[in-house]
């Protein structure tokens, strides 16, 4: 019978008893299009080699050909689980580069939507993580809450997922009373709903067995692997950009950064659950302290960039062809480079801009947490079992759109 078995990968010397398996890009547990090549010894992973790039869309190149305002639309598609947080991160970076002032009210609004995005993203993470480990009911319960948030997004800015809510120098729309009432209702009911999910998994012996001592990373190792976000804090490293480089209105918020100790999957799970509760309390503070005032600054650029002074748009009219040619006015923006990081649900999302004074960035580099998390998979998965790999991919909370850019 063995005559018919033909492995695609050539077997190297010493590897004859290894079982090579290629997980993904189409696999239910890879959260999109991650591909992991595994060398198995029975069920134990001897070598794990993640392959990314199946969703590489050329973000950074494309950004060089679009104006700063248009690039905002791109950032929605980075980490599509928390598009709002990406919007805010991008705007904070560009505002620093172009020295644009943001009014206080829109800072609060940004904080609010950031935390809503964090909740939405963490709920999705909990859902998929639980589904990966086999608890499919948690998956659907989490989506119930997430839907409420998405409906609030839809009412706020007209789109559920790719929000494009922020604007350079402010935000796009003001909130209404009905949105805030909905949000308040959500904030009130959220902790008890979270309790519900926890009944199903938190103390469940199967869940504990599947998560404790799985994918353990020590604190120093985690820093060396450039992990950020809850994946780092699960190992006990106190690094949260909301505290280290406060942006938006995080300066005015009282919240704590939950830290784990053991650095295993369960610690990261607890960290994120606590983070959700903290986000909930930040949301409540936002609702209570929302200041009045304008939502967009006076020096905010127009949607059609480059905008001032005296925007010049030439229209090339060979009347028969009627093609539109936009001659961009080489208005002087700041020249220089700047790196601004924000804390998105996945970790540290940074934008590095090099500007040469045009309306388009000269170079935009996106420091995406998922990319570095996936590179850590190699180290974390070694020696664990096949089923653990699924748990580790889940706990790292990777999203391929952000990873591959």
């Amino acid at each position: 019978m063995s005559r018919k078995i033909s492995f695609n990968c050539p077997v190297q010397a010493g590897d004859e008893d290894r079982y090579r398996i290629q997980m993904g890009p189409q696999h239910p547990a890879t959260h999109g299009v991650l591909r992991v090549d595994l060398d198995l010894d029975g069920e134990i992973i001897r070598k794990c080699n993640p392959h990314v790039g199946y969703l590489h869309r050329g973000f950074e190149k494309l950004a060089e050909h679009r104006t700063y305002v248009q690039n905002l639309v791109l950032t929605d598609r980075l980490d599509y689980m928390a598009a709002m947080a990406n919007n805010v991160g991008y705007c904070e970076a560009v505002e620093k580069l172009l020295a644009i002032e943001v009014p206080q009210r829109s800072r609060y609004l940004r904080t609010m939507v950031c935390e809503m995005a964090r909740l939405a993203s963490h709920l999705l993470w909990l859902a998929t993580h639980a589904l990966d480990i086999g608890a499919m009911t948690v998956f659907l319960y989490c989506f119930r809450e997430r839907e409420e948030l998405l409906e609030i997004f839809a009412e706020l800015c007209g789109s559920r997922l790719t929000n494009t809510y922020t604007r350079l120098g402010g935000v796009r729309q003001d909130v209404t009373h009905s949105i805030m009432m909905k949000l308040e209702k959500f904030v009130d009911s959220f902790p008890s709903n979270l309790e519900e999910y926890e009944t199903l998994i938190d103390t469940n012996r199967i869940w504990l067995k599947r998560t404790i001592d799985v994918g353990t990373v020590g604190a120093d190792e985690a820093v060396g692997l450039c992990l950020t976000g809850a994946s780092l804090r699960g190992s006990g490293v106190d690094y949260d950009i909301r505290k280290h480089f406060p942006y938006a209105a995080y300066d005015f918020m009282d919240f704590e950064v939950p830290l784990g100790e053991t650095g295993d999957t369960y610690a990261r799970y607890r960290c994120r659950i606590e983070e959700m509760l903290q986000s909930n309390s930040i949301l409540r503070q936002c609702i209570e302290r929302m200041p009045p005032g304008p939502i967009i600054g006076d020096d905010a650029p127009d949607l059609i960039m480059p905008n001032k002074p005296g925007r010049k748009v030439e229209v090339d009219v060979p009347a028969q062809q009627s093609l539109i040619k936009l001659v961009e006015d080489r208005e002087t923006f700041m020249e220089g480079d700047v790196y601004v990081a924000t804390e998105v649900p996945k970790g540290e999302l940074g934008f590095y801009f090099v500007s040469d004074g045009n309306g388009t960035p000269y170079r935009m580099h996106i420091r995406s947490p998922s990319f570095l998390h996936i590179s850590a998979l190699k180290t974390m998965a070694k020696g664990s079992m096949l089923a653990d790999l699924i748990a580790i991919i889940g706990t790292l909370d990777v999203v391929l759109g952000e990873c591959d850019r």
Partner: protein, 187 residues
């Protein structure tokens, strides 16, 4: 962020390598030569307690206004941003990499997490990282031609990737087995 005092220390320790330093938007930036970049990085990590590598990327300077005509700029540069979680200081190193010798030392021995970032730089910008354990393309397919983030590379790419061409041929060939086309042929 106030001045951290790291730049003077760097200038003292590596006088030949530090080209220029400045502060922009409150961020410290140092331009260096590429030769001793590994030493500089380990100095920064060990002496200045900058344990967190925030990002690593490459920039193509060829069309950059400020770079044109200044001889301290080379064609490429590799940018490192470091941060200290204890002292809350950060510093950015811009190591200049010339076009004709497009390689720089890898810092994976210091930060294992830099592995993927350096592969990305190699993939998109074509910078070689010597002593990198496994320098392959990471985002683009293995047999992709060119390095997309270089400035001369057009947005829509040059030519078509061979793998996609074969796919298109294959799909044309398989179309004959398709329900719809077999219907059309008979009508």
């Amino acid at each position: 962020m106030e001045s951290t005092g790291i730049i003077p220390r760097l200038e003292v320790s590596y006088p030949d390598d530090v080209l220029h330093s400045y502060q922009y938007c409150g961020q410290d930036v140092v331009l260096t030569r590429k030769k001793h970049i590994l030493d500089i990085c380990s100095f920064i990590r060990d002496q200045c307690a900058m344990n967190h590598l925030m990002f690593l990327c490459a920039v193509d300077n060829s069309r950059r206004k400020e770079a044109i005509g200044k001889n301290e700029y080379e064609r490429f540069e590799v940018v490192y941003q470091f941060y200290s979680m204890t002292t809350k200081h950060s510093i950015r190193i811009r190591a200049q990499v010339p076009d004709d010798d497009c390689s720089i030392e890898s810092i994976t021995s210091l930060w294992p997490g830099a592995d993927c970032l350096e592969r990305e730089c190699f993939d998109l910008m074509g910078i070689h990282f010597s002593s990198h354990p496994d320098l392959r393309r990471i985002l683009m397919p293995e047999d992709w031609k060119g390095h997309p983030l270089r400035k001369e590379y057009p947005l829509r790419g040059i030519g078509e990737w061979a793998g996609y061409e074969t796919l298109k041929e294959k799909s044309l060939e398989l179309r004959t087995f398709d329900y719809r086309s077999s219907q059309k042929g008979n009508e």
